[in-house]
Amino acid sequence: MEEIIHDQELESKEYFINMGPQHPSTHGVLRLVLSLDGEIIRKVEPHLGYIHRSIEKMCEHDSYQQIVHLTDRMDYLSCHINNEAVCLAVEQALEVEVPDRVKVIRTIIDELTRLSSHQLWWGVMGMDLGAITSFLYGFRDREMITDIFEETCGARLTMNYNIPGGLFFDIHPNFQKRTKDFITYFKKKLPEYDALLSDNVIFKQRMNGIGKLSKEDAISYGVTGPTGRASGFSCDVRKHHSYMAYDRVEFKEILDTEGDCFARYKCRIAEMWESMHIIEQLIDNIPEGDYKVPTKAVIKLPKGEWYQKVETARGEFGVYIISEGQRSPYRLKFRSPGFSNLSALDHMARGCKIADLVAIMSTLDLVIPDIDR
C-alpha cells in the first residue's frame, strides 16, 4: 500500500497548528506548535512562558518563610508537597530535627495531596478522551479531600500548612475521623473508576501502545513520577531517598514495563491504592507532641548549598538552595517534574495522531504553572 502511494507521489504538505495557549486539553496556558501531515504529528514544539512569574528571582529577595508561600503557586495540585520540599531543605540546613508528630502529619497530608491530584488527573484524563462524566466523578471525590484541607489549613487550592520547623497549626480535631471516613468512602469508589474507564474497550484501544517511552529514554529525558515508573524507571524518591515518615510505612513502588499511556494510567490508579494504604497505617498512630519546633523570626542559613528532593504527584521535585549566609538565598532553583516530563513529549508524540497527542499529554499529567514557574 505504501509503495503505491510512493509511486504516484501523492503530494502532501506539512502544515502547522497552534495548540494553545488557549486550548481545552493543554490544561492551562501551554502552547504547542504541531507540524502535521494530515492528522499525523511530525513534530511537537512546546512554547513556554505564558505563566512564567520568575518565582526563582522573587525567592532571591524573600525570606525562607516567604518562599514557602510561593511554591504552592507552582504545582498547585501538589502544593503541600512543594511546600514541604522547601521546609525540608531549610530544616536540613539549620540542622533542625522536627518532632515525630510533624513527620507523621506531613506524610499523611502528602499522601492526601497525591490522592486529590490523581483524582483530578483521572477526571481530566477521561474528559480529554471525551468521557466527560469521569470529570464530575473525579471532582466529586476530590471535594472530600479539599474539605479536609480546608478544615486543616483554611484554604482549598493554594494551601499553606508547612513552615520551616513544623506546621502552622496543629491538626483539626476532626482530621483523623474525616480522613478515615474518606478512606472508607474512596475504597468503594475507586473500583467504580475502573468500571467506568479502565475496563472500557474504547478506552483501552485509545491507550494501549500509544506514546511509548522506553526506560532508557525515560532516564535520559529525566522523566520521573508515575510517568517514569510506567516505563520501568525506578525513581520513587519516597523509596530511594526516604524523608519524613516514609521509612516506617510499608508501601510498594508501582513499576510497569510497557511505558505506554495505559501503563501510566494503571500506575496512577495503583498509586491511589498505595496512598490509601500509607494513610491507613499512619492515621491512627499520630504521636503526641509539639507540632513545630521554634525557629527564629529571621532565618539565616549558613553558607553552603542544599538540595532536597521530594516525590510530588507528578514526579521528582527538587529544591536547590545556595546560601551566602543572608536572610534570603543567593540562588534558588526549583527542579520541577513537569518541565522534564514535558521535554519527552515530542519524542513520544511523533507519528501519532492528534487524538493520541491529547491522550499522551493527559497521561503526562502536566501542570503548566509548574513548568513555567
Binding site: 513556554l48 536540613q92 535520559s220 520521573t224 542544599w306 538540595y307 536547590y320 518541565f339 522534564s340 521535554s343
Partner: protein, 152 residues
Amino acid sequence: MDNEEIKKFILDHVAEADCVEGTQFLQVTIPSEKILPLAAELKSNETTSFDFLFCLTAVDWPDHMEVVYHLKSTTHNHQLVLKAKISTRENPEIETVCHIWRTAELHEREAYDLFGIKFLNHPDLRRLLLTDDWEGWPMRKDYDDPINMIAY
C-alpha cells in the same frame, strides 16, 4: 562507588578538578572547557554510569558563571554535583551536554534564557520562557528592570 572513588575517577580525568565534600553530595568544580569529555565519560563508563541528570542550572557569581549539573546513577545509586566554572561573565560559553542527557535540551534553553549562557552546539538555542524580543538576562544579579521592579 563511594565518594572517594568518584573523586579519584574525576581527578584521573580532570587533574585541576576541585572536589569538596558537601553535606549531601560530592561537589566537583571543573573548568568549563573540560565539561564535555568528562560528562561523556561519566555517563558511558560502567563504573560511574551517571545516566540521570536530575537538575541542571546556572549560578551567577560576582566574578564568574557556573553551570551546575546534578547527576545520579540509576544503577549504582550514587550522586554527584558537577560544577562547570565559566571564568567570564561577559559572554559566557560552554559546550552543550544535551546529546548525553536529553533532558538537558530544555534545561539549557532555560539557563540561556535567564542567564545568557551560550551553549555551543545546542540544536535549538532560543529563548524559552521569555518573549523572543526580551532584552537582558533576568536572573543575573546585575539585571535591572526599573518598570517591573521587585519590591523588597
